[in-house]
Amino acid sequence: MLKAMLGEAWLAMGANRLRTALTMLGMVIGVGAVVIMMAIGQGAQYAVQQTISTMGSNLYIVLSGSFTTAGVRSGSAGGPTLTVADAEAIAELDGVTNVAPTHQGTRQLVYGSQNWSSTVVGTTPSYLEARSWSIVNGAGFGDSDVRSSTRVAIIGKTVAENLFGGDDPVGKTMRIQQNPFIVIGVLGSKGQNLDGRDQDDTVIIPLTTAQRKVFGTPFLGSVRMIMVQAESAEAMPRVETDMTALLRQRHRLREGLPDDFFMRNLSAAAESQAETTRTMSILLGAIASISLLVGGIGIMNIMLVSVTERTREIGIRMAIGAREQDILMQFLLEAVMISLAGCLLGLLLGIGSALLVNAITSMVIVISGSSVLVAFGVAAAVGIFFGYYPAQKAARLDPIEALRYQ
């Protein structure tokens, strides 16, 4: 019976092709819009998540803060209030996995006839661990390199490309501010960070070497920044409190005096950005859903016209033994078929235009199986929801009246 009804629904759809096609078009556009909007929204979410994962998880940055001398306040990181000893003390705290005191600045790099300006980061081996940054070529430096201020460097991908071109940088000697450094490793690529800065445009050298040879720090042992990684997201609030207390105590700050350091929760910033993109993608989907709704109303409209036009047919069917539920099913099936066919074409349209957007704008596009499933489910639901009223109207016709209808 169902098979016969499917066949009849197909016939009915074919009887007025233009009308069926136009009705379907409403669904095609609706589903297409939902698919592409979800693809863009999920793409944005994916891009943010990728960036967050390259940043390293559960990170704090402690910056040396403003200090006040004779009423004159310096800005943030205005002076070296943090020390390597502070970093070592923080490392002793519960829930802290990695601590990396760092000192960074922009310097000109020279290799052969090439030169390139990049961010030079002086730090300890923990830095790479905290940021879960791997070395794809060569090796990293160890704590002994930090202790003995060796002139070794690990370079990012961008630096490798710009300074060394096609050459293998490992083992080569480049100069940072006249000081020769041996390149011992090349970092894996991380791409852009949340602010859009190229994270691969960097050179990492031992902290002590940086302070003595590159930046010429006046107070040895002081640092501008300490990167701290907590063992888990749950441990972060406790680590923050402990760290504040520890640093205030170490810096001998009396009750009532402001902190002479700043603490930034990098993960929180990233989370808020992720939240923004999530909201955006929900909003996009919601707007696209409105066109799906309009498509559904189009189906209802056409089904109502169709029921009126086919009143006599309904009467004949009833006379030869169709029950109410048979008529109901027939019209419902027709509405669902139009809706699903529209959905299928809409999926093709949506995926096609998503690929097109991807090809011409390099925007990240993610078409997930779940969004395809959702589109199908919604289309079937739209067909049933908007097809039900016309189908019920048909099923409730009085057979005598319907047979008399001209």
Binding site: M1, L11, R317, I320, R323, E324
Partner: protein, 237 residues
Amino acid sequence: MTEPVIRVVDLGKSYETAAGLFPALKGVNLEIRPGEFIAIMGPSGSGKSTFMNLLGCLDTPSMGDYFLAGENVAHMDKDALAILRNRTLGFVFQGFNLLPRMTLQDNVALPLVYAGLDKKERRAKAREMLAKVGLGQYAESLPSRISGGQQQRVAIARALVNEPRLILADEPTGNLDSHTSEEIMRLFDELNGEGITIVLVTHEPDIAAHAGRQVKFLDGQIVSDQATPTREAVPAC
């Protein structure tokens, strides 16, 4: 004594109108036995259409009882009536009422769809019935490709396909010329000869003459019920 196919007892139907309750049918009694060929006659407004709608289980009576094949259908619900129409009755209409988009074969097979038969059985039976009315070669044609008389034959094939106990024909020759009408009536005669019970509504005496028994309606009542004089009547009881 054979059990009647149809027995109506004091059957009545009233309609609500603006002027109050209008009695279209005022307590009719009638029995129809298997194999009978009955013509129902009367002017318009006589109640014969109302009576046919009740016989065809398309409507429910306001009063009285209607026994179809021994079952009282006066108080059945819509679904049960639909099943009765499908299994026990066959309809032939004045306007043929074929579905224009379907082939003749599919039109004839339509009652079998609602009876729940599978496609193979439906095809076979529909072809058999089309052959019976002499249109086997047009099985794959659309109704618009054949003449009115042929369309009515297809409608008769559709009415027969479920092997009903009774065929109800409402002015089946009303849209046909006299020659074609005669052909259709000959087909009814043949079917009646095979033992099929036929109830036919008409206002033309020539057509009614094919029936063995003529029942005349006037003002919602039966005013005469007699065997057709020119033909040997089917013996009552």
